[in-house]
Symmetry: C2
Subunit: 481 residues, 2 copies
């Protein structure tokens, strides 16, 4: 690639989305991209893994309308204030003006909870655990970038209702575990869940816990967040149940929103290198590429062997292709490395006659000889080895990006390294907002909040990095996308 | 159920969508429904089967923007005329008016072909075979009904580009085969592909071939259609390639659009009975329901057996549940029959102690005894037996609904039976439209067109049912949804 990931990540990212054919921007509709097959196939696998895990934990899929009448949105005051500025409005059908304008779903609380209020009558109707996989639309005014920030985002939104606060809190933890199981262990994207400051919550939530991840340039990208909605929406939408004593109680709610489209940006960025994409085996559109290497005189035996190996492998569930195009072997290596195919099998005359095959791993570049009879078994092992390698490489980078500072000068210095900088801070309640604004103005750093379940506490003599009052919390600051 | 399918189908359909919990209409947004989990789980399985077949035949998934600028739509004249009257227009984002209004995708020709014109340069870029699974929106002005006609429809649209007319024609036939493999053989919905009259084509197509199916009331419902677009769009969008002689040639195009949401209406209607849904095994959200039948004194041995059987079955990929709710066994039978679960295993004291289990099929109502050790094997057999039974029942009904008429009086008489009535007709070219309009006005029947590849020809003395000129074709007429 022309651009180096560690020197100029931003250009590298743009280049890889084009060279690996992940998207096409020539539709020329600001914030909307054409998602190309190579990206969509991986996103479909991401959806499948995520959905299976949500279903294993009791969620069921539904599909709610994508158009939401204005009056629905208006029910919860903070929510409407938070979303209306970036809503796409449908005002006409054909040449007729609609009686009431409708929002293209920016998120589905208002339409879903209107129905939930009808579904929840008694304890027997709880819990509700429903998700939908669908696009959502927000007219982002900041610069848009493929997969990182756009106006159309394919995501999953899960909306759950419980009888008690404890159950809702338990769900928040479950959502974090799901993020760990899928996004970290399967996709190889490490994160920290931060309890966001009160001024940076999901509009309408009581508390927001957002998974912050890092890009290779050290900037923070927010991935799935899970929200303790408390009883705010249940009161606004009248979601209540008759308890065991026959009293009406408002329900407790949570929601969780992994944006598959955006997590894909993290996968591309985290694992890729200067040769192109590196994909976890489970997510690769092609998992094994067979590349024949032959001259005129041995073409037939090499071809025969390629067919035979493809035959053997097709007894497994692997996605295999063989590249018999006119290109040189070198050009083929280049192409499939760019595409991030996890395993390459090179077959030349030696392999065609010896019963041993040459496997090359994309993640590590290592070559190994494998007995033909042990091929499937070895690839099954490699799937897991590759997954673990990508996770541990990503973890190593992530862990190296936590720093500390006590003053704004130190903070500015540390921020140059990218990542997260721990600073002593007065409070993440609303009163802390002014300090956060000053910190942002002076350092460009956002206050991301307090790590979930963190036991770290400032010592009694530590003071807020801005106001100088006693520090109640350590917060983490960093530059965000 | 209160309503009988064969007496008052329309009410039966409304009742089953509520009793089996397929949708909720209380969002109260005209034409938009809440698709409930029981329907969505089946639709996801339908998507998976359809997508796998399309991919097996060389299609790849992509995702194009759901908002299409007005100027894109305007490129192909007939196309824009056909769709604009029912387009939902986005005119504002937040409180700002958009510079150019955008249509919520009513279908994606215009955005996809704009890109295709960039992708196709030479023969090496062909064929293109791409599909996307997504919602589309059309502001239907006719009465809307859940799954049958709505303003938001989840579908698949496949758009293909070829170098030659022959390849495009071959694709039209492939789309028909895909419909046969999936919609008929897997979903159990028989159809006939009709070449539509020229006045009833997809806007912008040269020829439309649409699969007409029947509802239990004998009315026709159009399911997937495949369109020979010819070179109309390639000329409008400038999709051309350099041929072997170095000359620029316009490409040939086809598109194919199975509406999963609408095919689901056919599945519900075709297979269901007066006890509720009947689902093909492959599409059922729960495939096997275990119902324990016990009294106080034998509760424990029955429960133990249920657990054990569930354990055994979970070694397979079957979706199994056991119903330990407080309801009576009768209430449980009723519930799971309503939901269309293909196989019920009843476990009472006899089954708990004898090593033999009682299986009840939903599709036929037949009971059978199965050795515990042969349970999985038998259920695997039943999956195929049930599929075949549903297909052959549906075929039998479908075949019984083809009639003939030579005069309008005969036609009116035959139309009372529902289904398709073959009539001699002047022509399905544009000149025939006037006759079709008269037939419609006098009989309420639509001219559906000529069956694809039909060899039937009127004899020389037969005349058009309306104008009395010599009949060139047999067309089929019927009442449509």
């Amino acid at each position: 690639m022309k651009n180096k990931k560690n020197d100029n990540f931003s250009e590298w990212f743009t280049e890889i989305t084009q060279e690996a054919e992940l998207c096409d921007l020539r539709g020329n509709i600001k914030g909307f991209i054409v998602n190309m097959p190579w990206a969509v196939i991986t996103m479909k696998k991401m959806y499948a893994l995520y959905e299976a895990e949500l279903e294993r934990k009791g969620h069921k899929p539904a599909l709610f309308p994508s158009l939401i009448p204005e009056s629905f949105l208006a029910v919860e005051e903070e929510h409407v204030k938070g979303f209306v500025p970036e809503v796409f409005w449908v005002t006409h059908a054909g040449d007729k003006k609609l009686e009431e304008k409708m929002a293209m779903r920016p998120t589905s609380e208002t339409i879903m909870y209107k129905l939930y209020s009808l579904w929840v009558q008694g304890l027997k109707d709880l819990p509700i655990k429903i998700y939908q996989s669908c696009p959502m639309w927000r007219c982002e005014t900041k610069a848009t970038r493929p997969f990182i920030r756009g106006r159309e985002v394919w995501w999953i939104e899960a909306h759950d209702v419980f009888a008690t606060k404890e159950q809702a809190e338990q769900q928040v933890r479950e959502d974090m575990e799901t993020t760990e199981t899928i996004m970290h262990q399967q996709f190889g994207i490490p994160f920290v869940f931060f309890q966001r400051p009160q001024w940076d919550k999901f509009p309408g939530a009581e508390d927001t816990y957002a998974a912050d991840c890092l890009m290779p340039d050290g900037k923070i990208i927010q991935q799935p967040s899970t929200h303790m909605l408390g009883q705010r929406f249940s009161k606004a939408f009248d979601i209540k149940y008759l308890d065991a004593e026959g009293k009406q109680q408002y329900a407790w709610q949570t929601c969780y929103g992994p944006a598959i489209w955006r997590i894909y940006a993290s996968i591309v960025s985290q694992h890729g290198d200067d040769k192109g994409l590196i994909l976890p085996f489970a997510l690769a559109p092609v998992q094994i590429i067979i590349v024949p290497i032959y001259k005129k005189e041995n073409e037939m035996i090499v071809r025969d062997k390629c067919y035979k190996i493809k035959q053997i492998l097709s007894q497994s569930n692997f996605k295999i292709e063989s590249d018999f195009s006119e290109e040189t072997p070198g050009a083929k290596f280049y192409k499939w490395e760019m595409k991030g195919v996890p395993i390459r099998i090179e077959i030349g005359e030696k392999e065609a006659t010896s019963g041993k095959l040459t496997l090359v791993r994309r993640d590590s570049g290592t070559k190994e000889q494998v007995d033909e009879g042990k091929l499937i078994e070895r690839i099954q092992e490699l799937e897991e080895i590759i997954r673990k390698n990508l996770v541990s490489k990503a973890d190593e980078y992530f862990r190296s990006k936590f720093f500390k500072a006590s003053t704004k000068d130190e903070l500015k210095e540390q921020l140059k390294k990218g990542g997260f900088v721990r600073i002593p801070f007065c409070t993440i309640e609303m009163e802390g907002k002014e300090c956060a604004d000053y910190v942002k103005a002076e350092t460009i750093a956002d206050i991301r909040g307090v790590p979930f379940d963190s036991k770290e506490k400032p010592s009694p003599n530590e003071v807020c990095i801005h106001c100088g009052k006693p520090a109640n919390v350590y917060v983490y600051a960093g530059k965000q996308y």
